[in-house]
Symmetry: C2
Subunit: 327 residues, 2 copies
């Protein structure tokens, strides 16, 4: 039997094993675990700690792991505690977690100031969202200063991660001017800082040109109220040579401080909390359709609709009135 | 008080005014109207008539109205009865119907063998889907031979229209080879026949080249089981000069006959019916969140979540257990 009050205490004390166990608890699909998870989150509510939640996206091959390792080690060297969470929609599909998140970031994973957690395995992006969001809450309660939430460049998961982050970074590869179009406008509009990676060796000049191109593209975007002068902006970095990481962190800090002073930080967190509440209600309401007896009745009615014995509307009416009516 | 049995009889007799009133009834949001609409659809079920449902999409300016008018008049001259329904997502947003559908197709609208109905005005695409689907059923019951369902080139509405059509046509403009990429792969994969319009005057050669380019692009797509040899295919038409319309119709007939003979027509309709049943269940289940008292409770809980008095998960749990539990 889990002692939830004790687990909460240990999470608050920054115990990494307790944090890992707590995340496993919120990731569980079992009903009794779910009840304990809610008790844990409720116990931890109001802990008063605020981490900087940083979403990070980039297509495979752009150097995300190398960047996170180098960036994370720079932060821990400054005395900051860093948590890394991964959201991988392909892992959501296959039901497995990213192989070797810790292997990818070997030095960071051995750092006592860091905590790395692979993507929760889940069949639905909605489920991944709730679990990731709750894992963020737990890391924040455990006193981490920076929480990096990493995802691959797939539209839906990027939107999801940006909606649980205070800052959203887009990691890009050096590229010819024509390829700029490859970054969807919607993704560009979500980003606070674009980082053109691999600004080293043969690619350095290309990276600088790419960065200038993106800066131009960013200037064409509509000004957002949550941005100070000169934001969003594009920067070059080299994760391999550890160049530009300090500048990137300085810019992130500048942006975050400005937003905190101007009320945008708090407003964004509030709006995000409401958004996730509503999303969870919708998701769990629809999940009832997948549970018997509704699931079986829906399947039978579907067959009748298929062979023309019922119209889609009449079948929907029947299911909603007879099997999904509220008390 | 509406006499539904009488309305059903008149719709079956092909009375256009009764059909128009019946469509107005299924478009209504009033609960008593909804009940009557379901009674009407149930009374009409099993009428045994089968129209050819043809979805048609194309970006503004490609000549959709001119094509529909010319194509429709050609069909009515052959003794076929033609219904035209429009789905306009922008009208769904603004709450108004397309201005002057009948003005756009003046000659066809005066044709006794034709019936033109503008887009239902609705705030949600889901609502538009149900109303359009039911309007199609009514037109089919009224004995129309061909039902054209027109939409503009916006991803979501195209998918929706293709999911209520037996055939899906994409009307395209003549263009340089580079612009082919403008047609999204997903849309291309939905289409059964691509029609390159404006194959007349100065644009004739360009249209032929564009058609050849699209033919090449179509050959690269994966073969679908519901297609005979040589389909999907690209053709040139000139709506203005009424060229190629007969060929287009012949190809549509060939494809449709092949699908009917090979069981694909019936299988597609059955799958579509199940799809729309399930979509309506989901949509109406979610619609309960917008109705009081749930709406108000959700708003209050949302405020508590915003100011941190509740976690999103705890608030969702409370709403679902206390206000959305099933009996």
């Amino acid at each position: 039997m889990l002692d939830i009050q004790d687990m909460a205490k240990q999470v608050l004390a920054g115990n990494r094993r307790a944090l890992a166990r707590a995340i496993t608890l919120v990731e569980s699909g079992r009903a009794d675990h779910r009840e304990q998870a809610l008790e844990l989150l409720e116990t931890l509510r109001g802990h008063g700690r605020t981490a900087l939640r940083v979403g990070l996206s980039g297509t495979p091959g752009v150097g995300k792991s190398t960047f996170i390792e180098a960036f994370g080690l720079m932060l821990t060297a400054q005395g900051l505690r860093v948590a890394v969470l991964a959201v991988d929609p392909s892992s959501a599909r296959s039901g497995g977690s990213i192989l070797g998140d810790k292997t990818r970031m070997e030095r960071l994973s051995r750092d006592k100031m860091a905590f790395i957690r692979p993507s929760p395995s889940q069949t639905q992006l909605g489920g991944v969202a709730r679990r990731t969001r709750e894992a963020i809450d737990l890391c924040e309660a455990a006193g981490f200063d920076v929480i990096l939430i990493e995802t691959v460049g797939v539209g839906q998961s990027e939107t999801m991660v940006s909606e649980m982050s205070d800052l959203f970074l887009l990691l890009l590869a050096p590229a010819g001017g024509d390829e700029l179009q490859g970054v969807k406008r919607g993704i560009m509009e979500m980003a606070d800082i674009l980082l053109v990676n691999k600004a080293d060796g043969d690619l350095k000049l290309t990276a600088m040109r790419t960065c200038a191109d993106y800066s131009g593209a960013l200037r064409l975007l509509r000004k957002r109220p949550q941005d100070p002068q000169d934001f969003p902006k594009a920067l070059t970095v080299s994760a391999v040579e550890q160049n530009g990481l300090d500048t990137a962190w300085a810019e992130m800090t500048t942006l975050n401080n400005w937003r905190r002073e101007n009320g945008h930080f708090k407003a964004r967190r509030a709006a995000q909390a409401r958004h996730w509440f509503e999303a969870e209600v919708r998701e769990r309401l629809l999940a009832r359709l997948a549970v018997d007896p509704v699931r079986s009745v829906m399947k039978d009615l579907g067959s009748k609709v298929e062979n023309g014995a019922l119209t889609p509307s009449a079948a929907a009416e029947a299911l909603l009135c007879e099997h999904l009516s509220l008390d």
